[in-house]
Structures are given as structure tokens and as C-alpha cells.
Amino acid sequence: MMKKIKMIRLELDRSIYSDEAVQKAAYRFIDRFAAIVSRADNSIVVEITFGTESSNQREHVVADFKKELLDQNLRLRIKTETEAVRNLILAYAFSKSGLQE
């Protein structure tokens, strides 16, 4: 028997989650589900479509995805704070090797 295709919809508060974090998290999961990300007022909407997974598996994946969303948010905070210093380090590294010219 064919299993039904299952959709799950997540609404995320835009004051907490950034577009970039949501997109990056969804990208990391492209091997597990198809996702469409869109905006609605103050939220980011993620529509998740599963294939033939059992409901148990789906729950697990969604739980992991939620953790990933939080991690991506944190990664973005780190990146924003350290971007300037990262560029500085890379600039030193390249200038010393003569690669920049």
C-alpha cells in the first residue's frame, strides 16, 4: 500500500529566527525532506513535505530540525560577531604569502 505524503507546517517568530538561519537549516535537511520557506507578517513559514517515512521517523526528523534551527541562529550570532576579525586574519595570512597581489 502507498503511504500518504505528509506535510508539516512550522511558523517561526521573525524576531527570533533570521531568514538566513532558517534557510541554512532547511538546506542541511534536503536529504530528509523537501521544504518551502516563505514569509508571512511577523513569521517565517516552513512547509515540510515528507516522502514515505513513518510518523515516528517524521517526528524525530522534525525534532532534529528544530534543534538545527536554534543552532543556525547561534552560528549566525557567532559569525556576525567574528566576521571582521576573520577577514583580518585571512588578510594577514594572504598578504604574508603574497597571494593577495
Binding site: K24, D71, L74, R77, E81, V85, R86, A93, K96, S97
Partner: protein, 486 residues
Amino acid sequence: MTEKFLPVQDYLPDSGTYELLPFKFEPVGADEVILTNLTGEFLYLKREKLDSLVSHRLAPSDADYRALRARHFIRQPNDRATLDLLALKTRTRLSRLANFTNLHLFVVTLRCDHACHYCQVSRQSEDRQSFDMSEETADRALDLVFRSPNPAIKIEFQGGEPLLNFPLVRYVVEKAEQRNRVERRDLQFVVATTLSMVTDEILEFCRVHGIHISTSLDGPEDLHNRNRPRPGRDSHRKFTDGLKKARDVLGYDAVSAVMTTSPASLPRAREIVDEYIEHGFDSIFLRPLSPYGFAIKTKSYQAYDAGSWLEFYRAGMDYIIDLNKRGVRFVEHYSSVILKKMLTNDDPMFVDLMSPCGAGISAVVFNYDGDVYASDESRMLNEMGDATFKLGNVHSDSYRDIFASDALLSVLEDSFASSAPMCSDCAFEPWCGADPVFHHATQGDILGRKPESEFCKRMMGMIRYLLDVMRADPQAKSIFMTWVNS
């Protein structure tokens, strides 16, 4: 992780305020993360500590604070020395891209006496004209070899079976040596051969010219013969005889072996390791099948996925670690390459074929017909009719045409994994690689969609395995330290 030295400012009084330095993290288990910085140093933290760290709430008295500072995850405001140190280490890592490869592969013939299922290129043909490299082509290739800026030059003869065109091997060796009297490079030669056709005369030539042999051993006799069919079904016996002869003439250390993991190898990791030990080898390279050429055509690549290969790898590694603990020194090379990036400052200085997680610019390959490729995999891809990574031909293109070609430059640029989606925020990236040829071959895209990539799954699996082992088993970690420091 070895702490090499602590910077001076580490001993200065701490103001209690800190700045974050660039780092990435991945979850390990339910409540922990692993952090890595630009230069591949790493550290484990509890989740709640990560939150405190990023929110600038971590106190200098905290046990993790000192470690984070020592390993360059945070710095005191205006502490310039730490940035200099990170830049220096980053520069060392980048230098392997700038320092062009020293490995030059000469495909002296496509002809072969074996008909291995997973071989991408060999031909069972008597037609010397069509599949052997000519002296003229070899001369042109040598011109290019000596244009390389690298003070070390390694020429490896490949096939097919290079011993079927040994006169050309002789020719190249003698010509290269002649030139080197003026050039004075560190010149090395390797012949990659199954040893089935080796003669006393060939070995004597190898001895006189210091030529190393890289041979193939896939496992116990039945497995080896199954993987490597040849008339007489005697590949393993020929290997055993050839190995003994070669060692007698060239010395023990001048002969090394590589193995190919066929689907039939997967349940037999321990036996394969035992076979290596029985033949007196002190290392192995648990090499997955490449997805090119016949490996794709015959579906033998699809015959196993990253998950099955990882099971094989872990079984092999568990056994190898156990052997080392019992006093048998035995190294696994694939792990060694990754461990070197994890545990030492120096990346392997050149990315040779022993480093499959390298950038794909692993060698310059001169094909029998004069075509030039950036890696052996690129040559195999071309055999399937895909010329994306062909750099040119020694007869029609100049050094500049070949080494400043779009094919090479765009691959180099795209092989910065740090800019690829997913890799850009993956904590394992400093230890990983790009393999653009693999992703082009399997996904039609140089950067690759990493969540669906077998390469990525393999790398993640290996890295997590190595991290877990080092954490749980200090004795295994000390063994790894001896691997990377030798």
C-alpha cells in the same frame, strides 16, 4: 590535542572581558558540542557553556575559559598577538594550495594483463600504437614537469600495467636524471604495478635508479583473485612471488601496497588487515571505490554506499587499534591524513593520491596520448566522455595554456570548501576537503549538495569515529599521536 605553546598574553592578568574568535560547532550527543577554529584546533563544550560563551557570560575562573583562550577561541580585547598567530597558522594551511603539487603521473600505457571490474581505464589489447605513450609525448611532458616551481619532483608511472611499456619507463627515468644534473631537484620515481610481469632485469633497473614500487593487494587470495581477474586466475600468486623478488632486490621499504574495496571486501576488513600483516606491510589505506569510469558503468560503485563503507572502515580501524595495543605497529593512511589536520599544525604539505580528502588538484597527470589532467580522477572522468577537467595536451598547448587554464583555475577556486553551502558552517571543514571532481561526477555540480553527498557522509562518519575513539580511549589517542608524528 597537543598544546604547542601558550602565547605570552595567556599569562597576563585577565580583564574578564573577551572577544569571540571565528569558530564553528557541531552537536555531539544530546548536551554537548564540538568547537573548531580556523586552524583546526578543537574543544568540547557543554551546551549551556556554549550559550554562556556566545553571550559573553563565561567567567575567567571557569575551567573552560582557560582552554578556550589557549586554543584561540576567544581573546582579550586588543590582543593582536593571537590574531598574528592564527594568521600564521592559516597561512601554513593555505600554502599547500599555493605550493603546486609535486606529483606527476605518467600513464605510459593503457594496456593491462588484468581485467579488474572496477578499473576505469585498462585495455586488453595488443595494439601498442594506440595505447602506449610515445617518446615524443614523454619528452614534452618532461618539459612541463621541470617547469614546476616545486623543488621536489615525484614521477609516478601508471597504466594500465606500466611494465608492459617498460622501455618508455626507462627512457623517462634516464632523461629526467639527465636533466636533473642541471636542475638539481629532489627527484623520485615510483612504478605502480601489480608485479605480475616483473622480471629480474626490470628490478635491477629499479635498484640502480632508486625507483620505488607501489603495488596492489586487495586481501586474502580468493578475494584478491576475484577482484583482479587475469588469465590463469593467479593474480595473488603472481603478486606474492613478485613481492618477494622485489623486496630481495630493492629492499623491504621500497615496496608499498594499496588496496581497493570492492563490494566483496566489505565484510572482510579484519582478514584484509591480516593479509597485509602476513606480507610484512606496516600500513594500509582503506580506500573506497571511486565513482568513475567502469566503477560507475558496472554499477560496482552503487553496490555500496557510504554507510556500508563506514561499517567496513570502523571494523578495520577497531582491529588496527587493537593490534597496535598489542604491540604491532600498523597505520591506516586515510585516518592519518585527517588526524594530521586534527592533531598537528602542519597539513600534509602536498596533497597526493594518498589524500582523497584533498582538493582534487592532487597531481598533474600526463595521459598516454599527451592529454593533461589535474588529477587521476579527472582522467577517468574523461574516459567516460566528460572532458570538464582536462587541462590541455602537451603537443598543442603551452605551460601557460595548461596551468592557467580555466579548467584548473575554476576548480582551484571552487575547491575552497569553506565557501561551499553547508561546509561553510560545518565544524569539520578544517579537517575535510572539497573533491570537486567527485561531486561533478556524482551530482553534476562542482561544489556538491553536501547533505546528499556520499563524500560528505563518509567524511562525517570518519571524523566522528576518530573523535569518539580519541575521547573514549586515551591509549588509542596516544597511538594516533605516533601515527601523525612519524
